[in-house]
Subunit: 483 residues, 2 copies
């Protein structure tokens, strides 16, 4: 392998970009006008159809698994779960099996010393508003090996050839462990230092601009959010070179609001200011992995108990959980002009939330170790609350730890709140309210064994190595800095 | 969970212990006399027996898998592997399935400011010399839930109850991916700060003493080596507080030989002195995980192609690979007085080796990404060479990258060389020569895509998160510092 060229740490540059809403090409308002025009230009129609109208997709005779004729893309299969974690210890459910590793990637380029991100206005059939802001590239292996018969996704070569860009971030990150079986994507951020052609549906934005757009409901898609969560930020490593105060001064952070300043301190602070050391967090995680086990057995979809299939959907017999539906799509901006496909429909809104709280003056986030059936190694780290179908679960009397803090949050506690969409290529109208609330330092909280306080710097350190699940990452992407 | 008490970083103390061969209880010679007496006191007999003489173990009728009557301990089953990595892309083999997570743990306690390790003289039936130096505790879940019907392993409570000790290291680490299916143990180092009873077969040793004993063949067992590999050493984090020169001065490292000093610099050095950044190493690993896949299917032992069973062994029809045998054991120091069990016999010696080389003045180790069927996530990081049955593979003309560097190493290149035993509770006379050789900075080496240079500090950082396989860890444990 030709070794990649060594880079100066890009973390500080990215923080600079996160703090900047100024754009030398177009300000955020101009961008929004451009985006609105894209919406008008692109006429899509997405309709739910009976399964029998699906083209190329079929229920395999022996298993009744839902498959594509090419054998590629994904299949909807069944799984049977046994675990000693949580109130339900044995169940069966449908799941998406897509064993390929896709690429979610953003090209960055510095203008006037500030990195800009090449973002795309992209339609996905499951989005409530169809068009959302997306990464430069979101490609399944089927995409770039052209199973569609369509054209190769633009800019893909920058993520497949180290000679064409500088790979800054290149991490395997998991998808929803409740919906996908062992699914991961390669999350990449690459840098170019020369001019590249900007295609029609693409534009350069600073990270600060994207963070601003993340305050709006359903604007920035999930694929963008998971990549943005991986953006390296200066941690205790970078702060070795200068004092935290000097860095805060250089970045002109005094004009930031209190919470933003707390976030930066939580990012920069050294191990000894954290509630727990890295070794102690690893120990907590080790103990839980030792204590809790889960076996996941793949079973034919036809054998999944308590689920029924009509010609319109595969759904749970009693509960308003997710269902499998089919849609037809007609569009001008995707790889092929029209197609049909299955999607997972989520009937109710979920909630993803971080509780933030200062401990000994340093802001910490409350993290949860969570067992989900699609996880590659049983447990991943999730946000404080990660709960689908909130209303249903409340009505059923499920105990969701810390959920009430969010449902009853006073306005002055809320640091972030917006509705975000899960991946519109697999999910139909799957919406989660994303929230960050801050409690008083004096508020006392008892932690169940699978909850832990981490600084933002520690969260970012563990994220690099794949500990953070998609719900934690999507919330991390939403966290911005306010002047 | 009651949060563990925060510790001052123990890394520097451990380095102090690694540099110290002085022991306030007994010097190394007195220890060796004690150990020799233990050998004489303990009379063991281990004999190979026909499978039909096994008690409690049986071949299950339907699968011919080898199982224990309790359903616990481990089973010998078959697997079928498909992969696009390496020259052999499809094969079948027997494997040990032991899904439980055991505990390998060492108690430490400071005397005169230097941490000592509580080590045990312990017999295992597969050891060539039966008695080896072992960690304080090596317990399978079957051990501590007392499936044996024997007594509970001594000192186990210090690893099960956070109130009884301070957990310094507590990591899940994998075992041999070529022999075990997804097997992991909890590797733990705990500290006590009060007197504890020292039982008959136990003694306190400094890390420096243990490192000295690691220069001898087959003295320190594998369970000890994997735990010792996890001993935290000061990295770039700790060196934030003082300059590297100051730390070297404080630790009085000027009397160390050149290679030891290079090792320390490789441990302390900052990211920018390394050949690749952490992000670049993660990218290298991500690309390989994306490119190479492996599916492992569990199959009945009776269906494993090319393997045959007699009443004495299960072995490959043509090649001198490992075989499954049965032994009877009589001993006075194990949990029960006598027993029979299966073991995996390794007919030929293997070789584990690090190539070390300075790059821009900083020592780097050459690491290999290796796909093995028992790995939890397909690829782990192995040493430069990790090769079983060396002579057979040479005769067959296998291409093992970098093997010749070790076989032809000049004496002045050899920094470490000793034969070490794999775990004697599962393996019968499974020996590997462990070597570290150092090349000249000017020596040019072309790297295949799955090889990479890492500093010792980087290796330790990735080890914490479970990237390093058992072969890499056992070699790391062997690396010591010489005056």
């Amino acid at each position: 392998m030709s070794q990649p060229v060594k880079s100066v740490s890009p973390a500080k540059d990215f923080l600079l970009s996160a703090l900047s809403e100024e754009n030398c090409f177009q300000n955020t308002e101009a961008f929004k006008n451009w985006f609105s025009r894209k919406k008008q230009d692109n006429r899509f129609s997405v309709k739910q159809i009976p399964f029998s109208f699906l083209q190329q997709w079929y229920f395999e005779e022996e298993t009744q698994n839902l498959k594509h004729a090419s054998g590629r893309f994904f299949t909807i299969e069944g799984i049977r779960i046994h675990t000693n974690f949580g109130p339900t210890q044995c169940w069966e459910q449908p799941i998406i099996n897509q064993p390929e590793i896709g690429i979610l990637g953003i090209i960055t380029r510095k203008f006037d010393g500030v990195p800009y991100f090449l973002m795309q206005a992209k339609m996905e059939p499951g989005n409530v508003n169809l068009l959302q802001l997306s990464p430069t590239v979101q490609a399944t292996k089927s995409n770039f090996t052209q199973v569609h018969g369509g054209r190769l996704p633009p800019y893909l070569e920058y993520f497949l050839d180290r000679k064409k860009s500088h790979y800054l971030i290149d991490q395997l990150q998991t998808e929803q462990g409740g919906r996908f079986l062992r699914k991961r994507n390669r999350n990449m951020i690459v840098a170019v230092d020369h001019e590249i052609e900007i295609l029609d549906d693409f534009c350069w934005l600073t990270l600060g601009q994207i963070k601003k757009l993340l305050k709006e409901d359903n604007f920035v898609n999930m694929d963008a959010r998971t990549v943005l969560a991986c953006v390296p930020m200066p941690g205790r490593d970078v702060s070795r070179e200068q004092s935290i105060d000097d860095m805060m001064h250089e970045l002109n952070t005094s004009s930031l609001d209190d919470f933003s300043q707390s976030l930066l301190e939580s990012l920069f602070c050294h191990e000894e200011s954290a509630c727990l050391t890295t070794a102690e967090i690893i120990s907590w995680f080790t103990e839980l992995k030792t204590k809790y086990h889960m076996t996941v057995e793949r079973i034919p979809l036809k054998n999944v108990k308590q689920w029924k299939r009509t010609n319109m959907e595969i759904s749970h017999e009693e509960h308003p959980l997710f269902s499998v539906i089919a849609v037809s799509v007609e569009a001008g901006t995707r790889e092929v002009f029209s197609w049909t496909q299955p999607l997972l429909k989520e009937p109710q809104q979920g909630l993803l939330g971080f509780i933030a709280k200062k401990i000994d003056g340093i802001l910490h986030l409350l993290m949860q170790a969570k067992v989900e059936p699609g996880n590659i190694d049983s447990i991943e780290i999730a946000p404080t609350v990660s709960c689908s179908a909130v209303n249903f679960k409340r009505q059923q009397g499920y105990h969701i730890p810390f959920l009430d803090y969010f449902l009853n949050a006073a306005p002055q506690q809320i640091r972030y709140s917006a509705i975000q969409s899960e991946e519109g290529g697999r999910f139909y109208h799957f919406l989660n309210r994303n929230m960050v609330i801050e409690l008083e330092e004096s508020d006392k909280i008892d932690l169940p064994e699978n909850y832990i306080w981490m600084t933002l710097g520690q969260v970012m350190e563990f994220l690099k190595h794949g500990y953070m699940n998609i719900d934690a990452r999507t919330l991390l992407a939403c966290i911005g800095f306010k002047h």
